[in-house]
């Protein structure tokens, strides 16, 4: 765990698979049009230029907040995103830098992600001060998605195929998912349904999520339910020209509520995302 100081954080976060950590965002699952989500999942989006800032308050704990900023750019089919995040208070928190590289094809994409973390406060004379691997960690993974039929997307990502140094605060195994979009071509209204399955982490059970999103013009609302323990969340995103604002709340029967806020500047593109 993160040097011992971050152990309480890791235990709280690890108590329930939250699915994301340093670059969490109020975004829909799968390959979302979000730089933070690209870094977090390794799933390259089709539109690939923009900047995003996100804020997450975990389980209603005032000292346990993640702030992140990320940007992404594209060159033909190549996608790249980079970001920086800060979690927790100075004495128990950590900073993280993330990089994602990907390639998209017509109807699919694949990407790699790298996230490096370092404790924010390193006391002189401690083991963490003397050994880099005691105060910093690196994780590498990736993901891929495919659109086998119009409106249907299937994805899989492994955020931590390899990890070195201090262990990441969350163990994030393979997640697979499928979404189905029910909308008419050229119209901006539609319904999106999705299912995801997160593989078991350690001795904990697998994590299943079912959700639905309703898109009406520039407004997207969504809700999802998650099992073991049964819980759910809702979200709302609104878009005005280049600016997208998103908010999501997820409840937990024991740990409280997690709130996610995001602000994105993305060039508008025709059709539903």
């Amino acid at each position: 765990m993160r040097g011992g100081r971050a152990l309480p954080l890791a235990l709280i976060l690890g108590a329930s698979a939250a699915g994301a950590q340093d670059f969490d965002s109020a975004a829909l699952p799968g390959p979302a049009d979000s730089p933070c989500a690209f870094i977090e999942r390794g799933l390259p989006p089709l539109p690939a230029t923009g900047v995003e800032a996100s804020f997450t308050r975990w389980w209603g704990l005032p000292g346990l907040e993640t702030r992140a900023i990320a940007g992404m750019a594209s060159l033909r089919s190549l996608r790249v995103a980079a970001g920086w995040s800060q979690t927790g208070e100075p004495d128990i928190g950590w900073n993280a830098a993330g990089l994602a590289l990907g390639v998209t094809r017509a109807g699919g994409g694949a990407g790699l992600r790298l996230v490096a973390r370092r404790d924010r406060l390193v006391e002189p004379g401690t083991e963490a001060a003397m050994r880099l691997e005691a105060r910093a960690g690196l994780e590498a993974g990736g993901g891929a998605w495919l659109e086998p039929a119009r409106g249907v997307r299937v994805w899989a990502f492994v955020p931590q195929a390899w990890a070195g140094g201090t262990a990441p605060p969350l163990d994030r195994p393979l997640e697979i998912g499928v979404s189905c979009s029910v909308d008419r071509a050229g119209e901006r209204d539609g319904l999106l349904l999705w299912l995801t399955r997160g593989s078991p982490s350690g001795d904990s059970p697998a994590d299943h999520v079912a959700g639905a999103a309703l898109r009406s013009g520039p407004i997207t609302t969504w809700g999802h339910v998650r099992d073991r323990p049964l819980r759910g969340g809702i979200g709302l995103a609104a878009r005005a020209r280049w600016l997208t604002v998103g908010a999501a709340v997820e409840s937990h029967p024991d740990l409280g509520e997690t709130v996610r806020l995001s602000l994105e500047i993305l060039p508008p593109r025709p059709g539903p995302s």
């Binding site: 094809r105 017509a106 086998p148 899989a156 262990a167 399955r197 697998a206």
Partner: protein, 475 residues
């Protein structure tokens, strides 16, 4: 069994409710080239044959053919991080009358070779032996009690088996007379078999006077075999295949003495009584396969298995397959009795230009509907084609296997298929890269296993392989 029937009906309903594609054959051809490897990488409820050590890795060699007048060279190295690399070399060649392969490498379970040539009097060969006589009661038996034919024995098998080492001679184009001598399971054996008009008579014996005989008849849709040893113990088997069009029904039955053991492959002797049925339909919309088998090794040691597999091919380069199975009792002649097992699996693969993705999830439980899971696996495989013949493949598996059980993950290398034995809770990532180079093809792979559960995050020693192969015309 009522639940089994319900699940079967549900699977059939799901499969048949999907619309039938118009261009499925073309889509199948495309998807096979892009996603076939992915499908092979994630595998079914696979297990090595009974003569192999349980819980150990198992390497097999695909029986891909080499075109006439070709030669293939391969040089490789493999190892684990922190240990000394091991080198390997192999050569395969095929000419009009001469063909063979030789492979060497320290610790390589596939080391060895075979050479065969055609003479005026017939065909002669030396090296690895994996023959099959008749239904396989003496030579070339099935590895599992529910299988109707082995995949690693006899000519035309998709996998090169290795039941023994020695020499063989076959007279006549259709093998009117076949003789062999070699070492099988630490026993020197010699045998001969004469065939004509579908009738075959074979004798197999060793230097200590043990002998067995086989009488087989293959006529029309039916195959029969009767095998006897000098002690009067016998086995008899009949298989009938009825295949009107794409629909095929195979039924088979075996009976005999529980003490009968094949001299060549005693660990593959299998049950003394078997009753089985396999139905397959390779239709335009996809494929369906159903299997049911009952068997008994000896008093108090019997088993049964029922399985259903439905594969739906899609118009846009992909397929979805689902399977269900239920097992009872023991499927090995010795060792522990697993007892009741029920589970299912689902596999999807799709592809777009230059990219293929496959996902698979399977669960096998000790209670109905996969509850009290003894093994759970989720796997993905991604293949990306790059420019100039380059490519990358990534396979990731997460698994949870109950204590005392072993799971075999299928890994496909350039020259072999490895059933990697894993247990406990963990993950495994395999990254493969291929590129043309030095006049041939370079294939590199890195396996990163991670144990989780009690040893959360512990990265085991990564393993790597590097291989160069070249295929050329010899004339």
């Amino acid at each position: 069994m009522r639940l089994t029937a319900r699940a079967a009906i549900l699977l059939l309903a799901v499969a048949f409710s999907l619309p039938a594609p118009a261009r499925v054959r073309a889509a199948e051809a495309d998807s096979t080239s892009a996603g076939g490897g992915a499908s092979a990488a994630v595998g079914a409820f696979v297990e090595p044959p009974p003569e192999e050590t349980e819980g150990a890795d198992y390497d097999v060699e695909p029986a891909d053919s080499l075109s006439e007048g070709s030669i293939e060279l391969g040089v490789g190295a493999s190892g684990a991080v922190g240990s000394k690399p091991r080198q390997s070399r192999r050569v395969r060649f095929s000419d009009r009358k001469l063909g063979g392969s030789v492979r060497e490498g320290q610790g390589d379970p596939l080391a060895g070779g075979n050479v065969e040539t055609e003479t005026r009097a017939g065909r002669i060969g030396v090296g690895r032996l994996a023959p099959r006589w008749g239904r396989g009661l003496l030579l070339g038996s099935v590895p599992e009690p529910w299988a109707v034919a082995p995949s690693d024995r006899g000519t035309g098998a998709p996998v090169r088996g290795r039941s023994g080492q020695g020499a063989w001679y076959r007279a006549g184009r259709v093998g009117a007379l076949e003789t062999l001598c070699g070492r099988f399971q630490k026993r020197d054996l010699a045998g001969a078999r004469a065939c004509g008009g579908g009738l075959g008579l074979g004798v197999l014996g060793d230097r200590w006077g043990h002998a067995q005989a086989s009488l087989s008849l293959a006529r029309g849709r039916a195959e029969h075999e009767l095998a006897l040893d000098r002690g009067g113990r016998w086995r008899a088997e009949v298989a009938i295949r009825h295949a009107p069009g794409p629909l095929a029904l195979t039924t088979w039955a075996r009976g005999g003495h529980p003490g009968f053991r094949s001299l060549a492959e005693p660990l593959r002797s299998g049950p003394s009584r078997v009753l089985g049925m396999e139905l397959s339909d390779d239709a335009s919309w996809g494929r369906i396969r159903a299997l049911a088998a009952l068997w008994r090794f000896q008093a108090g040691r019997s088993g049964a298995r029922a399985a259903l597999e439905v594969e739906r091919r899609f118009l846009q380069h992909g397929s979805l397959a689902m399977g269900f199975e239920e097992r009872h009792g023991a499927h090995r002649e010795s060792g522990r009795v697993p007892g009741f097992r029920q589970g299912g699996w689902g596999e999807w693969h799709g592809s777009v230009a230059g990219m293929a993705l496959a996902l698979r999830h399977e669960v096998l439980g000790a209670r109905r509907l996969g509850r009290a899971a003894v093994r759970t696996v989720t796997a993905m495989r991604l293949e990306i084609e790059g420019p100039a013949g380059t490519g990358i493949g990534i396979t990731h598996s997460t698994y949870r296997v109950r204590s005392g059980e072993t799971l075999y993950l299928t890994e496909t290398a350039s020259d072999r298929v490895v059933l990697r034995a894993v247990s406990g809770t963990g993950r495994r990532t395999r990254v493969e890269a291929r590129a043309p180079g030095a006049g041939g093809n370079i294939h590199a792979a890195l396996d990163v296993p991670v144990a989780t559960g009690a040893r959360t995050g512990a990265t085991l020693r990564p393993q790597w392989t590097l291989e160069w192969t070249r295929r050329a015309r010899s004339r």
